[in-house]
């Protein structure tokens, strides 16, 4: 997508500017992924690693459907649905086997690797010959990055607004209550297992939606797409919360979106400085570590942690 923009005589700023549209697109796609990571983690207090598996699942399901000549919208919907199933699988394992939430996610993402290869029949598929939601919307202009940004931006805004309204409904409030205190939720007649399952399904669906859009933009799906998704998404969530806070449901929803957007601009800048893409994982990991360290150093009282589940 960078399309020969780079010239040897470019400075850091020029390079950053030339990378800007790509990074905005990445940021918007990751806004969906970060929302998908935030909902289990913050709304349900269910630290979940499934996204590392539901991300490639979304891309692979989309690719398989496109190969079967599904319409791009149909294929995207199948991808979203598969992501929801992955989230539900994690919730079910936690419900029936009562093992640590993160282990549940690791089991599911490991199993999904094999499933993803099976779905596609091979480890990767090129999708250039297939139509995409972008080509459906903009025809020949679909390679125009501003068109892509417009469509993704609208989609992200729509998803965020929908989630905002959902968390004000009876069911949405019940889901938030589950994350605040499981005993309280049960005592108020809330089926904790069911709401956990739905919450993780929403998370998985959003992650897979992001993945399917990325696959359509990049023109390929690969079973290894998931590596690092979680830490990128988590960094986005934490960065957004550091900037906006998460005291209200509005801020809690805007944090991943804004965080993802800014995170990928920072990434773009670091790349423009000349770091290798392979250095980014360590950088992101250290960024997350540092943000975790800040409250410890400041000795801030993070309040009771009765909510966090195992």
């Amino acid at each position: 997508m960078t399309r020969n923009l780079w010239r040897p005589d470019m400075g850091v700023i020029d390079l950053f500017v030339s990378l800007l549209p790509v990074n905005i697109i990445q940021g918007l796609i990751y806004a969906l992924v970060a929302l998908g990571i935030m909902i289990p983690l913050r709304i349900l207090s269910f630290p979940d690693l499934t996204s590392e598996g539901s991300f490639p699942l979304g891309a692979c399901a989309l690719a398989a459907c496109l190969e079967l000549d599904f319409s791009p919208i149909g294929a995207t919907m199948v991808a979203v649905f598969s992501g929801a199933l992955a989230g539900m699988a994690t919730a079910s394992i936690h419900r029936w086997l009562r093992i640590n939430t993160m282990l549940c996610g690791i089991i599911v993402l490991t199993i999904l690797f094999s499933i993803n290869v099976r779905i596609m029949g091979k480890p990767n598929i090129a999708l250039f010959s297939h139509p995409s939601v972008f080509s459906l919307m903009f025809g020949e202009n679909s390679v125009n990055q501003y068109n892509q940004i417009l469509l993704l931006g609208l989609l992200v805004a729509m998803v965020t607004v929908l989630l905002y309204f959902f968390f004000q409904t009876q069911a949405g409030m019940a889901m938030r209550a589950v994350g605040a205190s499981v005993p309280m939720a049960k005592a108020q007649g809330i089926d904790v297992a069911r709401y956990t399952s739905w919450g993780l399904a929403i998370g998985g669906a959003l992650t897979a939606l992001g993945a399917s859009l990325q696959a359509q933009l990049q023109g390929f799906a690969d079973v290894n797409l998931g590596f690092g998704v979680l830490i990128n998404g988590l960094a986005a969530v934490i960065l957004g919360e550091a900037l906006l806070g998460n005291q209200s449901i509005k801020r809690q929803l805007l944090a991943p979106v804004v965080g993802a957007f800014i995170y990928f601009q920072v990434i773009g800048f670091v790349l423009a400085l000349g770091l290798r893409p392979s250095d980014l994982k360590a950088l992101t990991g250290m960024f997350v570590l540092i943000t975790m360290l800040v409250p410890i150093v400041r000795k801030t009282d993070t309040g009771p942690t009765v909510g966090i589940r195992e």
Partner: protein, 264 residues
């Protein structure tokens, strides 16, 4: 036909760590019936089984034998959230009984849907806000002007009062109080306990209250139940309970365990 008793517990048995060296009988053939309007206080030493009894009624602990009927309905095998249609509960820990990330009015809205289907309707309709505000103002906490404040910012006493209102917003068939003033300072504990007694009287709620506090057990309620080693060793009501003094109770508490002599 007379209305069914609000709570009917029959031959309830529960053993923890069965078939291990730590085996402990928590409930040993417990029978207990509460009629409509009964307010029973339950006391007993550590490990007497009073918490297990309350948790068994709530659905948090499943029993090995016996049955639990609420308002004539067999709830023995139902999970907590299904029993919540008829049973409400105030927890010991103020942080557990309320949702700290939700506002005061949102907590009340969640409690207002207890026993009802939760759909995609607005969770906190404008019309309800005023009702919640009025109900809360009757508690005299001064919280009615801060209805949109996150519950995590409230004090323990405020949270317990809110938790109490949440438990009675939808009038339950049975109210469970699990040492709900134990985590509060003495003065706050007294305020919350007075508010509790008022609500119970106003709504003539059938109540089971577990407490560590013998004064409380004597002062409140029309029945007093003492447990030891998983059995009910004392169950007094009405005038007999009113005549009970702290001295009597302490004496009972230290009596060698012999159910026969008490029954006589």
């Amino acid at each position: 036909m007379s209305p069914p008793s609000k709570l009917a517990i029959s031959k309830l048995r529960r053993t923890f760590y069965k078939d291990t060296p730590n085996q402990r009988i928590a409930l040993d053939s417990v029978n207990l019936t509460l009629q409509a309007g009964d307010f029973a206080t339950v006391i007993g030493g550590n490990g007497a089984g009073k918490s297990t009894l309350l948790n068994a009624v709530a659905g948090e602990v499943f029993v090995d034998e016996g049955s639990i009927h609420v308002n004539g309905l067999d709830v023995t095998t139902l999970p907590t959230h299904e029993r919540a249609t008829w049973i409400s509960r105030v927890f010991q820990d103020p942080r557990i009984g309320t949702a700290s990330t939700l506002s005061i009015e949102e907590n009340l809205a969640v409690a207002d849907q207890r026993g009802k289907i939760r759909g995609l309707m607005p969770g906190l309709p404008r019309a309800k806000k005023e009702i919640y505000r009025q109900r809360l103002s009757s508690f005299g906490l001064g919280l009615e002007s801060r209805m949109d404040v996150k519950v995590g910012l409230l004090s323990g006493g405020q949270r317990q009062s809110l938790s109490l209102l949440m438990a009675v917003l939808q009038v339950p068939q049975l109210l469970l109080l699990d040492e709900h003033t134990a985590a509060l300072d003495p003065r706050t504990a007294e305020i919350v306990m007075e508010a509790t007694a008022n609500v119970i009287e106003q709504e003539s709620l059938t109540t089971l209250m577990v407490t560590h506090n013998m004064h409380q057990a004597i002062k409140y309620g029309n029945r007093l139940i003492m447990m030891r080693e998983g059995q009910i060793i004392l169950d007094v009501a009405g005038k007999e309970k009113d005549a009970l003094t702290l001295h009597d109770l302490v004496e009972q508490f230290h009596l060698p365990h012999d159910p026969q002599s008490l029954a006589a």
